[in-house]
Symmetry: C2
Subunit: 234 residues, 2 copies
C-alpha cells in the first residue's frame, strides 16, 4: 500500500487533510479515488491506514481506519557531527546513518569547520526520503547546535569524542555498553582543536578512536553510527 | 612533499619517466624544476623519493633517491559486490571502502542486478584518488567477474554471503576470525536469488546477516568492509 509522510497528525481526530504536494501526487499522478486506501506515517512510530474521503487535488481528505505503533530502531544511537564543506558528503552520510539506524543527529560548527552554514530543511527532506526508503517509522531528530558548548551540555549518559592524540587511544567499540544511550562527536575535516578536545573531556566526553585509518568526516560519522548499532554484538 | 601515483615503476632502474598527465601537472601547473624532489607511489606498498632530472612537460624524468616499503592495511579484507544501478552510489561505496580498508573488490552481475555493465577504468581512477586522499600505499585489486560461478571459485578460506532467509541468520561480525582472509558477497538491490544463495552455500559461502536493518547495496558493502576491519576488536 502507498505510504506518505505527514509530520502533524492529530491522533484525536478521525480525519487528516494531506499536504498539497501529496494531495496532488495522490489524485493527479496516482489517480487514486474516494474509497481507495493509503497509509500515513508520522515519523514518530505511528502508521495509519486510511481511506480517501475526498480526493481533492489540493487538500485530499482521508479517514483513519486503524493505527499501529512501531518500535524505534537504534533508539540509543546519537551522533554529533560537523557538516562537511561539500554538502553531497553530509547528505550521503545522513542517508547512510538513517539506513543503519540513528535516533538523533546534532550538527555543529567547530574551530576547524570549513562550512559554517547549513540548511536543516533540505536535510530534513533527505531524512524523510531515507526513512521511507529503508522502511523505518521513526524520523531521527535533526538539530543545529548554536555552538560546541551547547553540544557539551548533552545529558546523555555515555559520551565520546573522536579524538586520537596517541596510538594508545582506545577504540569506541571497546568502550560501548549495549542498550544504553550513547552520544559520539565527530569533528570537521581538520579535526577538533586541542582546546575543544580538552573542554569535551572536562564535560564528560571520553576520547576515542574509530579505527587505525584516516577517515573523512562523513565516513567517520557512518563508522560511529555502525559501531553504536553493533554494541549488542560485543 | 608532492605524491604521485605511477602503476608501473621498475625498481631495477634508477630512473622513471612520468605519465604525460602528471608531467604536465608537475612542470606547468606546479612549476617544479630540475633538482626538485617529489614522491611516487606504485599502489603496491612502495614509496619512492625522487629528484627531477628533466622537467619535460610531456615526459618528466625523475631519479629515484630512496625507497620505502609500507605495510598493507586490511590485507585480509575482500569484498564481492553487485554494482548498483546508480553509478554514484557504487563510486561512493568504493571511496568509503578504501578509506576504511579493503584489499580486493570483485564486482559481479547476478540475477536481480539492475546494472549489467561497468567501466572498471573509471572506478580505478576513483580508487587511486581515494587511496592518495586517505594516505594509503596499497591500491585494492579491482576486478569484474565473468559471472557468479567465477566468484564462487574463490580460494579464500572464510567465505560469507549476505543472505538472510530467517531472523535466526547469524550476524557476520559474530562469525569473523581476526587476521584471516575473509571474503563477503553483497548482492544487488533485489538481493540474491534463492538459487544463487543455495549455490553459494554449496561452494562454501556461509549465509550471514549484516544487521537487523534494511540496507541499500552500497551501504551493505560499507558495513561489511567495516565489520571485517573490526574483527580484531572481538
Amino acid at each position: 500500500m502507498r505510504l506518505f509522510y505527514h509530520s502533524n497528525i492529530d491522533s484525536n481526530k478521525q480525519e487528516v487533510v494531506l499536504q498539497p504536494e501529496d494531495s496532488k501526487h495522490i489524485v493527479r499522478v496516482l489517480r487514486m479515488k474516494q474509497g481507495n486506501e493509503l497509509q500515513l506515517m508520522d515519523g514518530k512510530g505511528f502508521r495509519y491506514t486510511c481511506n480517501i474521503k475526498d480526493a481533492n487535488q489540493k487538500k485530499c481528505l482521508v479517514t483513519i481506519i486503524s493505527v499501529e505503533e512501531l518500535p524505534q530502531v537504534a533508539a540509543n544511537v546519537h551522533l554529533g557531527i560537523a557538516p562537511t564543506k561539500n554538502m553531497d558528503r553530509i547528505e550521503f552520510f545522513l542517508e547512510k546513518a538513517i539506513e543503519i539506524g540513528v535516533a538523533s543527529i546534532t550538527f555543529f560548527y567547530s574551530t576547524h569547520s570549513e562550512r559554517k552554514n547549513l540548511k536543516l530543511e533540505r536535510l530534513e527532506r533527505i531524512a524523510v526520503s531515507a526513512m521511507k526508503q529503508s522502511r523505518k517509522y521513526w524520523l531521527p531528530e535533526l538539530s543545529l547546535a548554536k555552538n560546541l558548548d551547547e553540544v557539551f551540555l548533552s545529558p546523555i549518559k555515555n559520551k565520546y569524542i573522536a579524538y586520537v592524540p596517541t596510538a594508545a587511544t582506545e577504540n569506541l567499540f571497546q568502550k560501548l555498553t549495549a542498550n544504553e544511550d550513547t552520544f559520539v562527536l565527530v569533528g570537521p575535516e581538520g579535526g577538533f582543536s586541542e582546546e575543544e578536545a580538552d573542554k569535551a573531556k572536562q564535560k564528560g566526553f571520553e576520547w576515542v578512536s574509530l579505527g587505525t585509518e584516516r577517515l573523512r568526516t562523513e565516513t567517520a560519522g557512518i563508522v560511529a553510527v555502525q559501531m553504536m548499532n553493533m554494541s549488542y554484538l560485543k
